[in-house]
C-alpha cells in the first residue's frame, strides 16, 4: 500500500504534470479562464487517466509491443467518449465552455505518457493510484491557474464576484479587472509565475535539507522511465 501513497504524492507534488513535467500545456493554457473550467477539465482528465491506466495495466501482457500506441489510443479514446457524452448530458454549461478540449483529452500527453511510462510496466493497483495522483495534480494545477486568472481578470472566484467592480457611470470605487489575464497572454504569464514560485519553494526546501532525499528519489526514480514523455509531448502539439 505504501507504493500507492508514494504514487499519489509523486503525481501531486514531485512530478506535478503541469508545474514540473510541463505536460499537457495545450488544455492548460486554453481552458483555465476560470476556476470552474479548471475543475471540469481536471476531473474529466482524472477520470480518463485512472480508467485508462487501470485497463492498460490489466492488458499490459496481452498488448503486443509493436502496436501498443494504437492500442493505448483506442483505450483512452473510449473513456474520453464516455466523458464527452456524460458531460454533454449532465453539465451542458461546462461542456459548452470547454468545447473542443474535451475530445482533445484523447491526445493529452499526460495520459499517453502515464500509459507508456507507468501503466504498461506496473501492476494494476499502483497504476490506478498513479493515474489518480497525476490526475489530481493536474486538477490542482488547473484550479490554481484558473483561480489566479479569474481573480485578476474578472474579480471573481468560481463565478462569484469577490472583488466589487468599479463602475464608471455611478463613480463607485472598486476593482478594475485586468482583462489580459482571461485572454491568451495571461495564461502564459500566470503559468510562468506559478511554475517559478513552485521552483523557488522546491529549491529552498532542498537547501534546507528538508525532504531533500525524498525529492531526489522522487525524481530520480522515474527519470529512466520518463523517456516516453518527450515523444508524447510532441504528439500534443500536433
Amino acid at each position: 500500500m505504501n507504493e500507492c501513497g508514494e504514487r499519489l504524492k509523486n503525481g501531486l507534488i514531485d512530478e506535478n504534470p503541469i508545474f514540473v513535467l510541463m505536460l499537457g500545456m495545450c488544455p492548460t493554457l486554453a481552458v483555465t479562464t476560470s476556476a470552474t473550467n479548471g475543475i471540469g477539465m481536471g476531473l474529466s482528465t482524472t477520470f480518463v487517466l485512472v480508467m485508462s491506466n487501470m485497463l492498460i495495466s490489466m492488458l499490459r501482457k496481452i498488448i503486443p509491443d509493436s502496436v501498443r500506441m494504437p492500442a493505448f489510443i483506442v483505450v483512452v479514446a473510449s473513456f474520453v467518449t464516455i466523458v464527452d457524452f456524460m458531460m454533454e448530458g449532465f453539465t451542458p454549461g461546462l461542456y459548452d465552455s470547454l468545447g473542443i478540449y474535451i475530445p482533445l483529452i484523447v491526445v493529452n500527453c499526460i495520459i499517453l505518457g502515464r500509459a507508456e511510462s507507468y501503466a504498461s510496466k506496473n501492476k494494476v493497483l499502483p497504476s490506478i493510484f498513479d493515474g489518480l495522483g497525476m490526475g489530481l495534480g493536474f486538477t490542482v494545477a488547473l484550479i490554481a491557474i484558473g483561480m489566479v486568472r479569474e481573480i485578476l481578470g474578472a474579480g471573481q472566484i468560481f463565478g462569484y464576484q469577490i472583488l466589487p467592480l468599479a463602475d464608471e457611470a455611478t463613480g463607485a470605487a472598486g476593482y478594475t479587472p485586468i482583462t489580459i489575464f482571461i485572454l491568451a497572454p495571461g495564461a502564459f504569464l500566470v503559468l510562468a509565475f506559478l511554475a517559478a514560485i513552485q521552483n523557488k519553494v522546491k529549491i529552498n526546501m532542498e537547501k534546507k535539507g528538508k525532504d531533500a532525499s525524498k525529492i531526489q528519489s522522487g525524481c530520480g526514480a522515474d527519470c529512466a522511465t520518463c523517456g516516453g514523455c518527450p515523444s508524447a509531448a510532441g504528439k500534443d502539439k500536433e
Binding site: 479587472p177 485586468i178 482583462t179 489580459i180 485572454l183 497572454p185
Partner: protein
C-alpha cells in the same frame, strides 16, 4: 607620473560614452514632447508622467535590491522607459494604470529577461500593449477640451479627410496620448538626438519612407475616393497617432533594433509595411505599437540574415 607607467591589457583608449550618457540624452530629447503634453492636457498629464516614471524607477530599484543585483537606476534607462510609457498614455487614464504599466514594463519585459540589453521587446511598448489589452476602454477614449471625440487618425481611417486639420496635427492641439500629438515637439527632440549622434536616420528614415509608399498606394485601395499619394491623406497619416514618437524614439531603441546596417534598413521596411497594414486594413485606427513590437521580435532573425562576412571569408573555394 606614476599613472603613465600603469600596465594593463587592452583596450587602452575608452570612449566616454556610456549607456547612462545616452539615456540621459534621450531623456532630454523627450522633454519638449513632455512639456507640450503637459501644456496641452494640463495637470492630469503631469500626474501621469510622474507616476509612470516614478513607478519604473522604483520597480527597478526594488527588484534589484531584492535579487541582490547591482542597482542600475543610475543609467536612466528606467527613466526613459517610464517617460515613454507616460507619453503613450491617454491623459484621462487613471494614474495607477500608468504605474501598473511601468511595473509590467520593468519587471516582466525588462528585468525577468535579464535587465538592460537583454529585453526582447521595447519595455514601454510591451507595457502599452498590456494596458491596451487589459483596459481597452480607458486606453482608447480621448478627451480634448472636455469633449470625448475620435482622434484625427480615426477620421483618416474612415476616409473623412474634411474633418482633419493638418496644422493642428502638426502643432499638437488634437486629442491623443500625452506625447504623440505634437509633431513639432517630437521633431525637435529627434533633431537633438541626431545631432548628438545618439540615433541616425537609417531606421526612422526607412520606416517613414516605406510607410508613405505603402499608405500612398493602399490608401487608394481602401478608399477609392482618395487618389494615389493624396497629400492631405499622407500628411494626416504621418502627423497622426504615434508614428512620429514611435519612429524616432521607440523603433530606434538600441536593445531591440538590429545592429547591422542592412538589418536596420530591413527593420525599417518591416515597420513601415506593418504599420501601414494595421492602420489601413486593421481593426483599430492605430498600429504603431504592435508594428514595433512585432518587428522587435523579428530582430534576431534579421540580424542572422544580415550578419556581415569577416574579411576573407566565403571567397573562391
Amino acid at each position: 607620473m606614476e599613472n603613465s607607467f600603469n600596465i594593463s591589457s587592452s583596450p587602452h583608449i575608452r570612449s566616454k560614452v556610456t549607456s547612462g550618457n545616452i539615456m540621459l540624452m534621450v531623456v532630454i530629447a523627450l522633454l519638449p514632447a513632455t512639456a507640450f503634453g503637459v501644456y496641452n492636457f494640463g495637470l492630469p498629464a503631469l500626474i501621469m508622467m510622474v507616476s509612470t516614471t516614478a513607478a519604473a524607477v522604483l520597480t527597478e530599484y526594488i527588484y534589484e535590491k531584492l535579487m541582490h543585483k547591482k542597482v542600475t537606476i543610475g543609467d536612466f534607462s528606467a527613466v526613459v522607459t517610464g517617460m515613454l510609457l507616460g507619453l503613450n498614455m491617454p491623459p484621462t487614464a487613471p494614474w495607477w494604470m500608468g504605474a501598473l504599466g511601468s511595473v509590467f514594463a520593468i519587471l516582466i519585459v525588462k528585468q525577468l529577461f535579464g535587465g538592460l540589453g537583454q529585453n526582447f521587446m521595447n519595455p514601454a511598448l510591451g507595457a502599452r500593449c498590456f494596458l491596451l489589452l487589459s483596459f481597452t476602454g480607458p486606453m482608447t477614449s480621448f478627451v480634448y477640451d472636455g469633449v470625448t471625440g475620435p482622434t484625427p487618425l480615426s477620421y483618416v481611417k474612415s476616409g473623412a479627410l474634411d474633418q482633419v486639420n493638418t496644422m493642428d496635427m502638426l502643432i499638437g492641439t488634437i486629442p491623443g496620448t500625452i506625447g504623440e500629438t505634437s509633431v513639432i515637439a517630437i521633431i525637435i527632440g529627434a533633431i537633438f538626438l541626431i545631432l548628438m549622434g545618439v540615433i541616425d536616420l537609417r531606421i526612422p528614415g526607412t520606416y517613414i519612407v516605406t510607410f508613405v509608399i505603402f499608405v500612398g498606394i493602399f490608401g487608394h485601395v481602401a478608399h477609392p475616393e482618395i487618389g494615389f499619394f493624396d497629400p492631405t491623406y499622407l500628411t494626416a497619416h504621418l502627423c497622426g497617432g504615434g508614428l512620429m514618437l514611435g519612429a524616432w524614439f521607440m523603433a530606434t531603441d538600441y536593445v531591440t533594433s538590429p545592429i547591422t546596417k542592412k538589418g536596420q534598413y530591413l527593420y525599417g521596411i518591416c515597420l513601415g509595411v506593418l504599420t501601414g497594414l494595421f492602420r489601413i486594413f486593421g481593426g483599430s485606427a492605430e498600429g504603431v505599437s504592435y508594428a514595433i513590437i512585432i518587428s522587435n521580435l523579428l530582430v534576431p532573425l534579421i540580424e542572422r540574415v544580415t550578419l556581415p562576412k569577416p574579411f576573407g571569408k566565403g571567397g573562391e573555394k
